[in-house]
Symmetry: C2
Subunit: 347 residues, 2 copies
């Protein structure tokens, strides 16, 4: 019984060694033919190696390559919640750009728990990813912040690249979302439409994104003579939006003309709450959101919001981490107020 007899039922994947033997060349030559950078390999040998690889259905072991080369082809992405359109759109951008660079994306969800986030970063560091992208929103004054930062610093000092998607330029590179300016511009536009009396339904205090949007909105109102009469702070999710709005209604809307939701999923939840209370969003009380997720075109009435090009944000986050620091566009992402029927002109 020869080696060939068992070859078809071998249980382990073909190794480069197998390919080299099959092609009758050395390991080094096989390596150079298949993966080598500057290929200085006799064409005939090269062909033999390629044929052997095809015959054996060879697929290079990325782990082994990583160990030998000292670097991986992996990008790690951390989001709060994969099923949330805000994050899934961004993730789609990251994956698309990674694909262009022939990089592989590993994805994890913090579930909005900063301790989990820290754990995940530690675990993912074991992968030695080329890049770590942190998109879950920051928590102001969180006890885990320092440890997280230390962990990321360590990662960087080992040659890893870090990119945040964030509202502020912190100690790390970040794709900056100008939440404040966006919300302020929105507020001005709403004032321009004739609204004066507002409420806000937004996430818990400390969630940076929520805080900045609220601050911006408030600033815009003050500049224009509007008043922010009520604020509720449920969870930063669709159900949070529903609950927050319900609470507002139960306590009495009391002249509130427009409710600003901290993000679009909350706004969508809020609209359902309004409807379930027997009122009509846009008519009885106007609603505005933030993000411009795809869904908001399809709710009734379509939602006024601040557009963030989420897919592009994801792509930029990866570019930011990959490119030379000076070749990188660090300017804040362009946001844009999109007025729709959920905020009709008043009077």
């Amino acid at each position: 019984m020869t080696d060939d007899a068992v070859e078809t039922r071998r249980t382990a994947p073909a190794t480069l060694h197998d390919v080299a033997r099959e092609a009758g060349v050395s390991l080094a030559t096989a390596s150079r033919s298949l993966n080598g950078s500057t290929r200085k390999v006799n064409e005939e040998y090269r062909q033999r190696v390629l044929a052997a690889a095809a015959k054996l259905n060879y697929s290079p072991n990325l782990s082994a390559q990583a160990v030998a080369r000292g670097s991986t082809t992996t990008v790690a992405l951390l989001v709060a919640d994969i099923a949330d359109p805000y994050f899934s759109q961004m993730a789609a951008g990251v994956v698309r750009e990674a694909d262009r660079e022939r990089l592989i994306v590993t994805m994890a969800a913090t579930e909005r728990d900063t301790e989990r986030e820290l754990d995940l970063v530690r675990t993912l560091r074991g992968q030695r990813p080329r890049v770590m992208i942190l998109a879950a929103s920051r928590r102001e004054g969180d006890p885990n912040n320092d440890a997280l930062e230390a962990e990321l610093r360590a990662f960087e000092s080992n040659g890893g690249r870090v990119a945040f998607v964030s509202s502020a330029a912190g100690e790390f590179h970040a794709v900056q979302l100008d939440n404040r300016a966006g919300a302020e511009a929105l507020a001005r536009e709403l004032i321009g439409l004739g609204y004066r009396r507002f409420a806000a339904v937004t996430g818990a205090e400390g969630i940076r994104t929520a805080d900045e949007r609220l601050a911006g909105f408030r600033a815009g109102l003050e500049a224009g003579g509007g008043t922010l009469e009520r604020i509720v702070r449920p969870a930063f999710t669709r159900d949070g939006g529903y609950e927050g709005m319900t609470q507002l209604i139960e306590e009495g809307l009391d002249g509130i003309e427009l409710v600003f939701a901290g993000n679009d999923v909350m706004a969508v939840g809020a609209m359902s709450a309004i409807r379930d209370a027997g009122l009509t969003p846009g008519t009885d009380v106007a609603v505005a959101g933030f993000d411009d997720i795809p869904t908001v075109r399809d709710v009734t009435p379509p939602l006024t919001t601040v557009r963030i090009p989420l897919e592009e944000v994801g792509r930029r986050a990866l570019r930011l981490a990959l490119d030379e620091p000076d070749a990188v566009d660090e300017s804040p992402v362009h946001t844009e107020v999109v007025l729709r029927e959920s905020t009709p002109r008043r009077g």
Copy 2:
């Protein structure tokens, strides 16, 4: 200048070797203390190693572990489109279950291109993932099907596990979605509500999911005396739904009482098209979808659909691949018709 002098500014991550030296034990002992399965290590040594690891901020190199152990802790997930809620919900389930098993998920998007899918499978095979989960829908009679199957067979024969999310039990393990039965049940319920004249807006012929839902729906109608008078087959996406519905309206609705969309994102697009045409969904023409993505509770009127527990499907897909074949629940996922206001009782 001693070794210690540069230690803090070392640029490479600490290795197990470093830890062992720092702790004054052998490589083997360090390995056993940190990652070993059956730890038979002197407690004092163990503590020394742990301390050294902490001091050096050691994080085991997963690639090196993978090559030494001959197996990874990776799960590869293939979806059609990460930003589509159908897939992102499923992905969330996979990631959650993977997290419980301390597995890492790498994610890729086929963008509904079977050739890309094949390429991705080839690339991902290089990772030697423990599991590959294929969730992008199958195409009947696609020229790449055979190559894909061969690739997956090879992966399996190398010890990898494959799990499909699929409508039919094929040659691989699959979490089965009973699209046919679900659509049929939906049709019966709609007949029960008094509807008789239907149209369908669904994906291109050959998309298995679309075909099966359509077939099931048709069967349910026939059993109940309804007629499927028109079928349009745009893209299997939100915009496809919008376009398809627009086409239907332009050609003249002509007595059509209800439009069945092949999935919820299409249904949501269709509802917007109805509204943009000056009609009212649910009133002028009823709409039903399939999947029960979160959004459909928040559109107006809320959408009648067939519920698939998408998160659970994701979790089950991973379990299916991980568990012993006989410990696994291969029964089709439970689907359920959810009647909402988009299909009010007629007459």
